[in-house]
Structure formats: structure tokens, C-alpha cells
Symmetry: C2
């Protein structure tokens, strides 16, 4: 199918992405840094255009097919729709898979913020297919950070070339989110490699028929490891062992045990894997051959490197799904004629497009405020990843890192909740049609529902934000966050003074909750309401993103900018007050949650 620009129209908005990158985040300034010096607006635009083209040509057309024909388990292996591999090979061969990586491993050293924006096109077009690449990129980035040169040559290089795929194997059936309880164990072998034994659950891309090999990164309890998370190390466990020359060798003792059948995200095969059960015994005895990554007992730390990247990726996917749903609903609302506005009920008059109805506009402006706010946060956080790695001063790098640490649970959770809400509104705007599988919005809704669960449920993100990042460390996290918001208010608030005042007040409210909890010495009561806090805090973050966007617009005229102003107005008029009202309830609900007796349910 030939590519043309109208095909991208309901996937994402090129205009909005250009606004965010160039008019707001000043991504062109990054080209002054050594790491990005070979780049320019032209190279960035070339990548973004290519992503839009791939999205429309190779990803979007099989999105519904992924949902209708999910991966199947045939002859002890997984069979995928063949369009998935075609799309992923296009992506790898475009150079985008390795886009942000070092030139030394075949990358082109793109800024992460450009990489995120480009990848969002693929997520919006086909989240299930895009996921295989996301996992592979996160796996590769982890090995680039902690693997040996030999491991990079052996595993990363084929991954960036699209020949190998990557997974992350953390969860186990009995442990769920509690990684302290994993029981997969590694036994040291005579040859300095390891043998792994155990079972892993929820492994996306855990088996399939694409490429030559799958590189599993597996958390396992090391020999002599302490109980809990401190005894855990990280191992490379390839599906097929490699010969000395890198050629594919024997099947490792990794067995596909079963598939999980999900409500959405169906094209991303999700597996149960068994390691070392003897089904395949390449060296005559049971045990999956594994290779230690980095040092022993630091597995969780390494995995969090990958996880933090994945959490931004989850937020990006949620934002992309919400955004594409909004664009579909918008197109439908402009086209679909039904009923007449209040006060114009003459049945002889022609029906109006439903966008004329205030309630439909309410749903559209709410959706716009969610999806553009969420995408702004995703790109802002991706920009922080760039600053963390390549800002010119140590102080800037440190600040970016500390701020990203606070924002990571928010960028994972807020888009996954509110862009799902946008998908819900997209169904409602379509009416009965939206509930049918003839329109894509119900699939977006089912797909997006996963994002509140995987890579740490939103409940876990709440505890991470409030418990670890804000209450932990004596309040340093809040200081960094408040500093960032106050800098924005000081530098740009004069262009939107009413919102600046409202945001400053909101910041005070989220800070007060933390200070009161620290002062009282009773953090448990507040922590019981961590999810509510996360949600309210997220509203403050998104309000800040809207202030930043307004400041970038200044007083420029035009529909695009007026739309941004209207969405900001909606967010500050409706969403922020409700987010803050929820914050006020923490003091009364927290004690109730701790006092609840299980028998009362």
C-alpha cells in the first residue's frame, strides 16, 4: 500500500508533535550538544516523517487483525500473524530501533525525546506489534549499560539489526508484583556459566516465530543469595544457545508452557515459560544455560534501569492509544449527523453534526486535555532522559535525574488512567457504533486497559511516588519537584497569570500533604491513600504541562493555539479542582482504610 499523508491523520497529530518538540521543548537546542551534533531539525523531521509513514503503512493495517487473530500455540511454539514480523523488520531496518543508541553499536544517537515521539506513532498505530520492539530496545539498553563488550557484541548487535528479540522475565505466578518472593534460582556451573531453574509468568514476547533468537533477561536467586530482593541477580538466557562463531546452536532448556489470553493487546503474545525443566537439555542435563549480567546480587537494580525506561514507554503507549482514539472520535463527531442543538428542534431542519452538541464537545475537550497533557508529559520526561545523560553541567544532569525519579510513577500512571478515560469517551462519542468491533475505538479501550496493570500497577506507582520518592529521603524529592514547577511559574507564569496562581496553590496542597505526614511521624495513614495522592499529584503535574504549553504559545493567534488555550482552560476549570478535592479526602479516608476489618466486606 502506498503511503500518503491522509493515512496518518487519525493516528497522531504531526502538528501537535512539532509544536511540542520545537515550539515548546526546544529540541533543536539539543543539537548543540556533542552527542547530537550531527543532527538538525531536518534529520529529526526525517525520522518523525518516517515513523508516521511506517505507522500508516506497516503497523496500522494489521492492528485489527492482531486483535481478531491472536497468537496461537502450535507444536510447542507460538505462531504470530506474519504482518507483525514484516512491520518489525521495517522498523529495525529503518534504523529507528537503534535510533538513540551510540554509533558504536549501530545507532544514530538521536535524542530520546525524538525517539519517543517517533515511536509513539507506532504505538498509536498498533500497540501490540510495537511492544515487541519496545521490549527489545529496553533489553538492549540494559545490556549496553551493564553488559560486557562480548555480551553486547553477541546479543545487542543482533537485536538492533532485527535478528534477535528481547524479553524481560521478572514475575512468577506465586510472587506477582512481590519480587522478593521469586523462587527461580541460578546454580553456578563449572564453566562459569549458570543453570537456571524455575517458572516465569507474564512474559511478553516470550516465544514466537520471528527472527533467529530470543534473548531473555531473567531475574533469579543467585547461589548463596540472601532472602528477598537482595539475593537476586540478572542473567541472559537465550532461547537458542550460540556457537562460538555466533551461529544458532541448540535449543536452550527454556520451554513454552502456556499462553495468557488477554482482553486486549492480543497481538503481543504473553507467555508462561519454564526454565530448566529438562524439556530441552542442550548439555545432557536439565538447566537453562544463563550468563550473569554485571555483578551478582545487583539484578534488581539493573532491572530497574530497564523498568524505568519501560515505565515511560508504558505512559507513551497509553498516551498514544488515547490520542489516536481522540482523533478517531473527533473525525466521527465532525462527520456524523444526528439530532439538533437545544433550541433548534424543528424536525424539518437538517440534523447537525454531533460536534455541535455541547455534551459531545465536553467529551472532546476533556479528551484533548487528557491526551495532549499526557503526551506533553511523556515528551517532557524523555527530554529529561536526554538531560540526565548529556546536559552540559553536572548540576543540570543531577537535577534532571532527580526530577525524572519523581515523575516516573506519574508518567506511567496518569496517562494509563486518563488516556483510558479518553478511550472511554471515544466510545461514548461514537454511541452504539463505538461499542461494536466495526469501529476501532473499542479495541483501543481494551488495549489501553492493560497499562494500569503492567510494569507495576498504578497502586505500586502510588507507593513508589509517595512512599519512596516523596516521604522517603526526608522530602528531597518534593523539593526537586517544587523547584521545577516554581521555575516554570517564575519564568513563564506571567503569560498565563491566573493559571500560574492556581498551579502555585495546587503545588502548595500536594506539598502540604507530604509535610504534614512527615511532621506527624505517622506516614502509614497517608500512605494508605497513596493511589489517591498519585492521582491528585498527577493532576498537578499535568496542569504544569499545560501551563508550560500555554507559555510556549504566548499570544499567537490561530485555531491550533486557540484549541490549546481551550483545553488548558478546561483542565484548570474542571480537572484540577477535582484532583485537588480528592486530595482533601486523604485525611478522612486514610484512617478508614487502616481500620477496615476484613470481615466487614
Amino acid at each position: 500500500m502506498a503511503f500518503n499523508s491522509t493515512m496518518t491523520k487519525s493516528i497522531l497529530s504531526q502538528r501537535d508533535i512539532a509544536f511540542m518538540l520545537y515550539e515548546w521543548l526546544d529540541v533543536e537546542a539539543l543539537t548543540e550538544r556533542t552527542r547530537f551534533q550531527q543532527h538538525s531539525r531536518e534529520t529529526f523531521d526525517a525520522v518523525l516523517n518516517l515513523a508516521a509513514e511506517l505507522a500508516a503503512r506497516d503497523f496500522a493495517p494489521h492492528n485489527a487483525k492482531n486483535d481478531q487473530h491472536e497468537p496461537i500455540f502450535v507444536d510447542a511454539r507460538v505462531r504470530l500473524n506474519p504482518e507483525i514480523e514484516v512491520a518489525l523488520q521495517s522498523f529495525a531496518h529503518s534504523g529507528m530501533l537503534a535510533g538513540s543508541m551510540d554509533e558504536s553499536v549501530g545507532g544514530v544517537q538521536l535524542p530520546r525525546v525524538i525517539q519517543s515521539a517517533a515511536f509513539a506513532w507506532l504505538q498509536a498505530a498498533n500497540i501490540a506489534t510495537a511492544s515487541y520492539s519496545m521490549l527489545t530496545m529496553a533489553n538492549a539498553n540494559l545490556l549496553l549499560a551493564y553488559g560486557t563488550e562480548a555480551q553486547i557484541q553477541t546479543y545487542v548487535k543482533p537485536m538492533v539489526e532485527g535478528r534477535f528479540f528481547g524479553t524481560m522475565c521478572l514475575s512468577e505466578t506465586q510472587a506477582g508484583s512481590s519480587l522478593a518472593d521469586i523462587t527461580t534460582r541460578a546454580v553456578k556451573s563449572d564453566d562459569e556459566t549458570y543453570r537456571l531453574f524455575g517458572s516465569k509468568m507474564w512474559i511478553s514476547g516470550g516465544d514466537h516465530d520471528m527472527g533467529d533468537n530470543i534473548v531473555h533477561l531473567v531475574l533469579a536467586r543467585s547461589p548463596d543469595g540472601a532472602p528477598g530482593v537482595r539475593g537476586i541477580s540478572l542473567y541472559i538466557v537465550p532461547k537458542f544457545l550460540l556457537k562460538q562463531d555466533g551461529a544458532i546452536g541448540d535449543h536452550n532448556d527454556v520451554t513454552l508452557v502456556g499462553l495468557n489470553h488477554k482482553m486486549g493487546y492480543r497481538g503481543t503474545v504473553n507467555t508462561v515459560l519454564s526454565f530448566g525443566d529438562g524439556s530441552h537439555s542442550p548439555r545432557g542435563e536439565p538447566g537453562a544455560v544463563g550468563y550473569l549480567v554485571g555483578e551478582e546480587y545487583r539484578g534488581l537494580e539493573y532491572m530497574f534501569h530497564m523498568m524505568n525506561e519501560a515505565r515511560i514507554g508504558v505512559g507513551a503507549g497509553a498516551a498514544a492509544l488515547g490520542y489516536t482514539g481522540y482523533l478517531h472520535a473527533l473525525a466521527y463527531a465532525r462527520e456524523r449527523k444526528q439530532g439538533r442543538p437545544v433550541g433548534h428542534k424543528d424536525p424539518a431542519s437538517p440534523p447537525a453534526a454531533i460536534i455541535e452538541h455541547p455534551d459531545v464537545r465536553r467529551m472532546l475537550i476533556a479528551s484533548k486535555s487528557y491526551v495532549e497533557g499526557a503526551l506533553a508529559l511523556v515528551l517532557y520526561c524523555s527530554r529529561l532522559v536526554d538531560d540526565e545523560l548529556s546536559a552540559s553541567t553536572e548540576e543540570e544532569r543531577h537535577f534532571a535525574s532527580a526530577l525524572l525519579d519523581v515523575l516516573t510513577p506519574v508518567v506511567k500512571s496518569w496517562p494509563s488512567k486518563y488516556c483510558l478515560a479518553a478511550n472511554d469517551l471515544a466510545i461514548q462519542i461514537h454511541g452504539g457504533y463505538g461499542y461494536t468491533r466495526d469501529y476501532p475505538v473499542e479495541q483501543f479501550y481494551r488495549d489501553n486497559r492493560l497499562n494500569m496493570i503492567h510494569e507495576g500497577t498504578n497502586g505500586i506507582q502510588g507507593i513508589d511516588l509517595l512512599g519512596r520518592k516523596l516521604l522517603g529521603g526526608g522530602g528531597a524529592g518534593m523539593t526537586v519537584f517544587a523547584d521545577a514547577v516554581e521555575r516554570s511559574i517564575a519564568s513563564v507564569g506571567s503569560r498565563a497569570p491566573e493559571y500560574a496562581v492556581q498551579l502555585k496553590h495546587a503545588l502548595g496542597q500536594v506539598r502540604d500533604v507530604v509535610e504534614r505526614a512527615l511532621d506527624s511521624g505517622d506516614t502509614a495513614t497517608t500512605l494508605a491513600e497513596a493511589t489517591t495522592y498519585l492521582d491528585s499529584f498527577g493532576h498537578v503535574v499535568i496542569a504544569w504541562m499545560w501551563l508550560e504549553q500555554l507559555a510556549a504559545i504566548g499570544d499567537q493567534p490561530g485555531d491550533f493555539y486557540e484549541g490549546k488555550r481551550a483545553a488548558a482552560q478546561y483542565f484548570y476549570s474542571y480537572e484540577l479542582p477535582i484532583g485537588l478535592a480528592a486530595l482533601d479526602t486523604i485525611a478522612s479516608v486514610g484512617p478508614l482504610l487502616l481500620e477496615l476489618n476484613d470481615n466487614w466486606f
Copy 2:
């Protein structure tokens, strides 16, 4: 499969239903009315127990199968899972289908409130199968109210016996919710019958292989009918014409054109029907033979009789789906062990049941407050239907009718939104498992998503409540509602004084919005935010339902009552303040919605 009481445990709560009916709504007092004099607590309990038994034995076991094997279009007709007919015949033969109808047509004159509670069991167990009966009952009740004696004998009697099924045919593709725009037309025939021509969309149960016949109630434009809704009449159009002796005759000119494939509710076949296209021409020429119901041009009025009943039924279905999801989540949370409470992180200690985690309790108590609040409202409204028909004084009947008029959009919309939220929380409590099709909660979520759409979208309910019921009629609707709430506060508020004060204040706030709009003369700005208003008003209604329940409990001890107190506390601490915060935004958001330029999106 033999019935046993543990099978009903995760469907609905017998204890809670008994509480609501007997301890709160004093349903036993109804037996003093002539209409219900042959009944007693024993006969009520027999019906409720039978419903629980049917739910567990005939409805729940094929709920997942309905989802996995949806109706198919074979040889121009629909083929359903055979379990559906078995379940529906059990229901009809139990006498419950005609339960609340007059003895003269084979009913047992049960109060509607008992009928609703009994039917909720079937909705919770299998909403898709139960829907066929719901439609048939609503169709029969309409004909009992407006049909001729001959029509009742010909069509209602076989429906209550389970031989015929009923539908309602309102929507058309081009008209959607705007019934003024329907184009199906009726032409008078020489023999005082009519011929109908046109196409109808979204017809649930529009074709299938159950029973002997399907009785369609069809809205169509009458000969010489005015444009808009005033030219519309209601016609009986049976799938098969009947011979003089009642035997099944020729296929009427009603053709199954296609099926709509939905996200959920898959067992309820949803069809596109063509009337009078000549595919079947029983009398030699095209035209579906139809029989006028009641008077010409009053079709919409009659249909609203059915619609109002159906709207309570939609709320009941939503509450039932939310409730069963909550019970499944509760059982899972008690059983599933994972992680350790904050402050007890020793990895050598055994993991805790997840109900020990405050965030899981938060989700459970929120769900409990939604589903029990919603079920309370459904039963309260059903009780009003009884009062409307059989309260002892004209004044009481009139008051019940006026109050029900205000509450109908709320009982349809609030459960459909917040019991869906409970289903969402049930998935979240199950974690990754909840997102798989191995657990039933994701199906409940998909099924329940329909309820915000059908029988008038929630946006339409908002306009109905605020525009027609509260702003219309000069404020009489608000007076009735305020009267009812204030009576409660006066009679029972002393048993929960803090909540009574909060509710009184909340009532003042929803009343102020209406009064300000009426005083200003600009109702359009407020009406633009009708959906927001509906939501906030709904929160006040549910808070009232919780006050009523608390008053019924008094100071009785025990886990069941403590649980009610905790859920009420949660609702007044969290939900009501947020509902009221949304109300405060109407004044600022309403003007924005009217000013929005379509090009800004």
C-alpha cells in the same frame, strides 16, 4: 448440575438483598395492599431463592460461553447457543417472567421490587441471556397497558408462557438517538392493518431460533403523520403472521439484514432488520404486516412506558454486573497471597492476603459503596413503581410517580457509570489475571460498558434530568426530589446526624444550580453541562440511599452492619465531596462548551 448455595455466593448477596427488602424498604408491608394480599415474606423468599437457584444452575454456567461463541448468522437466520433457550424456558416456566403481572394474564402479582431483586440474580449471572427476558417482559407490559384484549391474548399470553419473544424497534441508522428523524413508515391497508417499510438498527433479540415467534414493537411514521416525533405510532409486527386459530403462519416481510458485533453483551444478538423489502411477501406484495397499538401518533408516549421500565432494568443490570464483579474481587483478595503490608517487609515472613493491603481495601470499599448504593437505588425505584400503581392514597401514588420521573435518568446512568467503575476496580484487584479471559471480571467490564449507551446514552439522561425534569415544569421536579430527601433527613437523620447535615448541604447545592439557572433565564449554559450535573446529582441520590440504609441499621452490631457503616463513611468522605466539587465547575465549564469553535479541535 445440582444446585447448592455456595454456587450463588459470588453472584449476588442474599444477605444484602434481604436487608434491603425487609430491614430497609419494608416490603412486607406491601402484603397489606389488595394487589399483593396473597403474598407474604415466605412467598417473596421462595421467589428470591428460586431466582438464586436459576441463576447458579441455568444462567451462570454459560456466561463465558455466550462471550466466546457469539450468535452467528446462518442461512438468513440467527443461531444462538442452545443453553440460552434452556435458561429462558426455565425462567418462563418458573412463573417469574410473568411474576409481577396480573393474575388474569397468568401472573402472580408480585411487587415490582421483588421482581427486580429476583431478576437481578439472573442479570448478575448472565446479563446477555437475561436480556431476552427483559425485553420480552417490557414488551408484554407495554401491550398490557395499551394493547387491545385481542392483542393481549394473541401476543402477550404466548410471551409470558415462553413461546414468543419480544423486541423494541426504535432506532434507525441515520437517526440514532434522534427519534424525530426516523423514516420507517406505515401505510394503511384495506383490511385495517398496516404495511411497514423501512430499516431498524440496534435491535436486540431481533432474530434467533428460540420459541415460535418474535413480536416486534415498531415505531413508524403513520400515514399523514406530522414531521418529528408527533407523527409516530407504534405497531406490532410479528416475525411470523398468525392464523385465525393462533397457529404460526407465513413469514412476515421482516428480514434479518445483519448482526452488530459488540465488545460485550455478546450473547444478546443485536440485529439490523429490514421491514417490507419484499424478501418475504406473505400476501403477494412487499410490506411487513403491522397492527396499530392504541391510538395513532401516540407511539412515542407508549414506547416511553416501555423505555422507563427498561431504564430501571438497565440500571439493575449495571448494578448486578458491578455487584458480581465486586464479589469475585473480594473472594480473590481474600485468597490471593502476595507481598507484605508496609512495615512488615521481612522476606522470610509468609506473604499476606492482598486484602491486607490498604490500596486493595480502598478498591474494595469504593466498589462496595458503588454497588450497594446502586442496588439500593434500583430497589428503591422499583418500590416506587409499586407505590405508583398501588399505594393507598392518590397523593402517595402521585408523589411516587413524580419522584420516579426525576429518578429514572439517575437509576439508568449512575449505576451504568459507577458499577462499571467497580468492574474496573475488580480487574485492578486481580492484577494481570484480571486482564485475562481466564477470570470473569474482564467480561463483566466489557458487558457493563454497554449500559452507558443503550436505552438513551448517559448524555441523553443528563438532558432528560436537567432539561426536562428539573429546569422544565418550573422547578416542580426539584421540589418533589427535595421533599423526598428532606423527609428522609427529618425522619431518620437523627440516627446519622453528621451525614444528614452533609446531605442537606449537598441537596442545597444541586438545588442552587437549578434555581440560579431558572432565575438567570439562561438555561442553555447550565444545560451544556447536563452530564456533569447528572453525575453530581447522582452522587447526592446515592448519598441519600446510604443515609436511608444507615437509618435502617440503627445501632445494631455485627460485621454486616459495620460493613455498611464503613461503605457509607467512605461514600460521604470521598465520593460525595468529589461529586460536589464537579458541581462547582459547571459555572466555569458551561460557557466554554458553548464558545468552543469546532476548528479548535
